[in-house]
C-alpha cells in the first residue's frame, strides 16, 4: 500500500504540475495570445475563420499555402491585413483581403466557390435581342428586334415558337413586358405603345394585334402592366397616366410631373407606383421628392375616370 501511495503522490503532483503548467497555455490560446520565444513576451493575436461552399479549398495566406483546407481557422495571426486566396479544383479561385484584429475572429464564412463550367447549360441556339423569364409558369419570352417577332419557349429552351409579330415600322423600342395573364405584351418607344395579343382569341379583351396607343405630345419614359393585365400605367415626361390596352383608348392623366426625367418603380403585387419628382419651394429651392401612388384601392374611381361602360 505504501508503494501505491507513493505512486499516487507522484501522480497527484504530476497532475498539479500539468494543470498549473497547461492552464496558462490553454487560456492564452483561448484568448488569442501567442508566446514569442524571441522576446519572451505574449503577443495578442487574432484569427481568421474560413468556410467555403463547397468545402475543401486550399488556403493561401499572403501567398503561402497553409496545411488546412476550408473550413479552417487560422490561429495566432499578428494583427494586420492579410491577403487570402482560396483555390479548389474545377472552381473559380476566390481572392480577397481581410483585416485581423487582436483577440478577435475575422470571419470569411460565406464564400462560394463557383464551378468553372460544369453547371453551364445551353438551352437553345436562336436569334433574339432580349428575353423575359416567367419562372412561375416555366416560360421564356424572347424578342427579336431585327425580324420583329416575339417567341416563347419552355424554361429548358424547348418548344421554341413564335407567338406574335411586332407592328411594321415600330422602331426605337425602349422596353417591353408580358402581361400577368400571359396573353399579351406591350412594347413601347418614346411616342407609341403597341400591345400584341398572343393566341387567346376566346378572351373578351382580345383585340386584333397590334393595338397602337399614340402619345404624340409626350415622351414615354416607362410603361407598366396593372395587375388586371388590362390597364397600362404610363410614365411620360409630363404625366403619370393610365390607359386601357384597347384600340382608340384615351389616357387618363393622374399626376402632372414637373421633372422630365422621373424615375419610377411599379409594385405589381400591390399595384403601387413609386416615382420621383421635383418640387420648387416658395424660397426657390428645388427638392427631389419620392411619391407613392396607390392604384388598387379605388378601382371604382379608376373606372369612373375611364368612363368605362358596364358592358365593355
Amino acid at each position: 500500500m505504501f508503494t501505491f501511495q507513493r505512486v499516487r503522490g507522484f501522480l497527484f503532483y504530476l497532475s498539479l504540475f500539468l494543470f498549473f503548467g497547461g492552464l496558462p497555455l490553454i487560456l492564452s490560446f483561448a484568448l488569442g495570445y501567442k508566446f514569442n520565444p524571441h522576446t519572451f513576451k505574449f503577443v495578442k493575436t487574432g484569427l481568421i475563420y474560413v468556410k467555403t461552399q463547397p468545402e475543401g479549398a486550399s488556403i493561401y495566406l499572403n501567398n503561402k499555402l497553409i496545411p488546412e483546407k476550408s473550413p479552417a481557422s487560422i490561429q495566432e495571426l499578428v494583427p494586420g491585413a492579410y491577403k487570402v486566396k482560396l483555390e479548389l479544383a474545377q472552381h473559380y479561385p476566390w481572392k480577397g483581403e481581410i483585416s485581423v484584429e487582436e483577440g478577435k475572429v475575422s470571419r470569411m464564412d460565406k464564400v462560394i466557390l463557383f464551378p468553372l463550367r460544369p453547371d453551364l447549360e445551353q438551352l437553345n441556339q436562336e436569334k433574339f435581342s432580349s428575353f423575359r423569364l416567367d419562372a412561375e409558369k416555366g416560360v421564356i419570352y424572347y424578342l427579336n428586334r431585327e425580324n420583329g417577332v416575339v417567341y416563347r419557349s419552355n424554361i429548358d429552351g424547348s418548344n421554341f415558337e413564335d407567338i406574335a409579330s411586332l407592328p411594321e415600322n415600330f422602331g426605337g423600342i425602349r422596353g417591353w413586358e408580358v402581361a400577368l395573364d400571359k396573353a399579351k405584351l406591350f412594347i413601347f418607344n418614346p411616342r407609341q405603345i403597341a400591345v400584341l395579343f398572343f393566341d387567346a382569341r376566346d378572351n373578351y379583351e382580345y383585340s386584333d394585334s397590334p393595338v397602337i396607343l399614340d402619345y404624340p405630345q409626350e415622351k414615354i419614359i416607362q410603361v407598366f402592366w396593372h395587375s388586371d393585365s388590362y390597364h397600362l400605367i404610363v410614365v411620360t415626361n409630363k404625366h403619370i397616366g393610365v390607359i386601357e390596352s384597347r384600340p382608340r383608348a384615351l389616357p387618363v392623366n393622374l399626376v402632372e410631373l414637373s421633372k422630365e426625367s422621373t424615375v419610377s418603380y411599379y409594385d405589381s403585387k400591390r399595384d403601387t407606383l413609386y416615382f420621383s419628382d421635383s418640387q420648387k419651394s416658395p424660397d426657390g429651392v428645388v427638392y427631389n421628392n419620392l411619391y407613392r401612388l396607390e392604384l388598387n384601392t379605388d378601382l371604382y374611381l379608376l373606372e369612373r375616370l375611364m368612363k368605362k361602360k358596364p358592358n365593355e
Binding site: 499516487r8 501522480l11 494543470f19 497547461g22 490553454i26 487560456l27 490560446f29 483561448a30 484568448l31
Partner: protein, 491 residues
C-alpha cells in the same frame, strides 16, 4: 451554529451556479475563462482518478482468490485470529426472503469457521412480514452459525428517526447482550454491518481478520470492502447498470485516497469501537459514513478506513420500466448525496473537540465540503453553463477569439476523455461475474455499447440529486430514509 453549517454546502453550490450564470450574461469573457479552467481541471482530475482506478483494480485483481485464512495462519502466534468472532448485522426494512436468503447463503458459504460467526437479522417491528420472515430464516439457518439472532426494532422510540442506523443500533445492543452473556471480549469481535442484499466473498472474513490483525491500532479503523453490484447486473437495465458500475468505480478510486476515505454502505469495524462511540446515530440517514466520523471524533482524529480489496456484491437498483428506474436511481443517489449531513455533524464535532489539530480539522472539512460541492456543480457547469457565454454573449462577444475557441477547446478536452472512457469500459468488463445461463451472448455487446448513455446519465444523475439533497438541507427540509427499490424487491 448547526444551521449555518447546514446552509454552507448548498449555499456554496448554488452560489457557484448562479454566479456563473450571471457572469455568462454580464461578462461572458470572464465566464468563458472560468469554464475553460474548470473543464481543464476536470479533465486532469478525470485522468488522475482513472489512473487511481487502474491501480485499485490492479490490487483487487491481484488479491482475488487469495487464501486469506492461510495468510492468517501464517501470522505470528500472538496475532491469534482464532480468537476473533465475526458479528454480522443485516438491517432489514421490508426486504423479502428472496433477498435475504442469498445473503445468508453467501455468509454460510464463507471459509471462516462458522462457529465464530454471530448473525443478527435486524428486522423492523413495523414490517408486518418481519415475524414470518424471521421464523422462516431461523428455521433454515439456525445452527449453521455460532449464533443466529433475530431482533425486532420497535417503531417510534424517543429520539429516533426511521433510519437504518436506528435498527442497526438496536440489533448491536441485542448482540452486545449476547456477547456479554457468552463472556466474549469486545476487542475480539469484529462487526460487519451489511445491507440486506449483501453477498460476501467466501474469503471476506479471512481478509478482514488479516487486515485487522496486521493493522496498526486496529480498533481505530473501519474496514471497507469494495462494493460491486453483481447480484443481478446481467438482468438489470443498461441505465441502472452503468450507474452502479460507476458507483463501484468511485469507491475503488476512493480506496486509493486514504486521507479522504470514508466508510460507505456495507463495512466492518471493531465491536469494541462501536460500543465506545455509542453505536450508529439513530436519527441520521447516512449512518454508514457517520459511524466513521464518530470514530474520528472519538479518537481525536486518529481514526482511519482500511480498504479491503475484496468485493461484497449487492443488487442493482432498478424497476419495471426506464422511467421508474430513473426515479429509483435518482432517489438512491439523492440518499447517498444526503451524506452532506455529515458536514454539519463533523463541523459541530470539530468545534467541540479541542484535541484534533486545527490543520487536520480544516483539511478534512475542506475535503468533505469540496467533494459534496463538486458533486453538486460539476455536471451543471459542464453541461448547462458551458454553452451560456455563447448563447448570451451577443454579437460583440461572438467576434472574440475566446468565443470561437471556447467550444473548440471544450470539445477537444472532452474528446481526450474518451480515452478514459475506454479504460472504464474495459475495467467494467473485468469486474463482471460470468454470464449466467439464459442470458444471450449479445448482452456482451450491449454492455459495451451502453456506455454511449453516459452523457444522458450525467445530465440526469450527475449533479441534480446532490443539488437536491443540499438544497433540502439548506432549507431544513430534512429527508427521511427511503429504502431503494431493487428489481421487484425493496431493499
Amino acid at each position: 451554529m448547526k444551521r449555518i453549517f447546514e446552509i454552507i454546502p448548498g449555499g456554496l453550490s448554488w452560489g457557484i451556479i448562479i454566479s456563473l450564470i450571471l457572469l455568462s450574461i454580464v461578462y461572458p469573457v470572464a465566464s468563458s475563462i472560468i469554464i475553460i479552467t474548470f473543464d481543464f481541471y476536470w479533465i486532469i482530475r478525470t485522468v488522475y482518478l482513472t489512473t487511481l482506478l487502474i491501480m485499485a483494480h490492479h490490487r483487487l485483481s491481484r488479491q482475488k482468490n487469495k487464501d486469506w485464512l492461510e495468510c492468517c495462519f501464517n501470522l505470528p502466534k500472538y496475532k491469534d485470529w482464532s480468537q476473533l468472532y465475526q458479528l454480522v448485522i443485516f438491517p432489514v426494512y421490508n426486504e423479502g426472503l428472496e433477498v435475504l436468503r442469498p445473503s445468508l447463503a453467501a455468509l454460510n458459504a464463507t471459509h471462516y469457521p462458522k462457529k465464530k460467526i454471530i448473525v443478527v437479522m435486524a428486522f423492523e417491528e413495523r414490517n408486518k412480514a418481519a415475524g414470518h420472515n424471521a421464523a422462516v430464516l431461523e428455521k433454515e439457518f439456525n445452527g449453521k452459525f455460532g449464533a443466529y439472532l433475530s431482533t425486532f426494532h420497535p417503531d417510534g422510540l424517543l429520539g429516533e428517526s426511521r433510519t437504518k442506523g436506528a435498527n442497526a443500533t438496536w440489533a448491536a445492543k441485542a448482540a452486545k447482550d449476547y456477547i456479554d452473556a457468552q463472556g466474549i471480549a469486545y476487542e475480539h469481535v469484529l462487526l460487519s454491518c451489511f445491507d440486506a442484499d449483501t453477498c460476501v466473498d467466501p474469503e471476506y472474513f479471512g481478509c478482514l481478520s488479516y487486515h485487522f490483525l496486521t493493522s496498526d491500532k486496529p480498533h481505530q479503523a473501519s474496514y471497507q470492502p469494495m462494493p460491486v453490484y453483481n447480484n443481478n447486473i446481467w438482468q438489470a437495465p443498461a441505465f441502472a447498470r452503468l450507474v452502479e458500475i460507476s458507483g463501484s468505480f468511485c469507491q475503488m478510486i476512493e480506496s486509493m485516497r486514504l486521507e479522504k476515505f470514508v466508510t460507505f454502505s456495507s463495512h466492518s469495524m471493531s465491536f469494541k469501537t462501536l460500543v465506545e462511540v455509542n453505536y450508529w446515530p439513530t436519527n441520521m440517514i447516512s449512518d454508514d459514513s457517520v459511524i466513521y466520523w464518530k470514530g474520528f471524533l472519538h479518537y481525536n482524529g486518529d481514526y482511519r478506513v482500511v480498504p479491503l480489496y475484496i468485493t461484497v456484491s449487492m443488487d442493482v437498483a432498478y424497476s419495471s420500466n426506464i422511467w421508474r428506474t430513473m426515479a429509483v436511481q435518482y432517489k438512491q443517489k439523492r440518499r447517498w448525496a444526503w451524506g452532506v449531513e455529515n458536514f454539519p455533524f463533523v463541523a459541530g464535532g470539530f468545534l467541540e473537540n479541542k484535541n484534533i489539530p486545527l490543520f487536520k480539522k480544516l483539511r478534512r472539512l475542506f475535503h468533505l465540503l469540496e467533494s459534496h460541492v463538486s458533486w453538486a456543480v460539476w455536471a451543471v457547469i459542464l453541461v448547462a453553463i458551458g454553452p451560456l457565454p455563447i448563447l448570451f454573449g451577443g454579437a460583440f462577444f461572438s467576434q472574440m477569439s475566446i468565443a470561437y475557441n471556447l467550444p473548440k477547446i471544450t470539445g477537444m478536452l472532452f474528446n481526450f476523455t474518451l480515452l478514459t472512457s475506454l479504460t472504464w469500459i474495459f475495467l467494467s468488463r473485468t469486474i463482471l461475474p460470468a454470464r449466467p445461463s439464459g442470458v444471450s451472448w449479445f448482452k456482451n455487446v450491449i454492455l459495451v455499447l451502453e456506455w454511449v448513455f453516459v452523457p444522458f446519465i450525467i445530465l440526469i444523475l450527475g449533479s441534480t440529486p446532490a443539488l437536491d439533497a443540499q438544497t433540502r438541507l439548506m432549507l431544513a427540509k430534512y429527508m427521511e430514509f427511503n429504502p431503494t427499490l431493487k428489481g421487484d424487491k425493496v431493499l
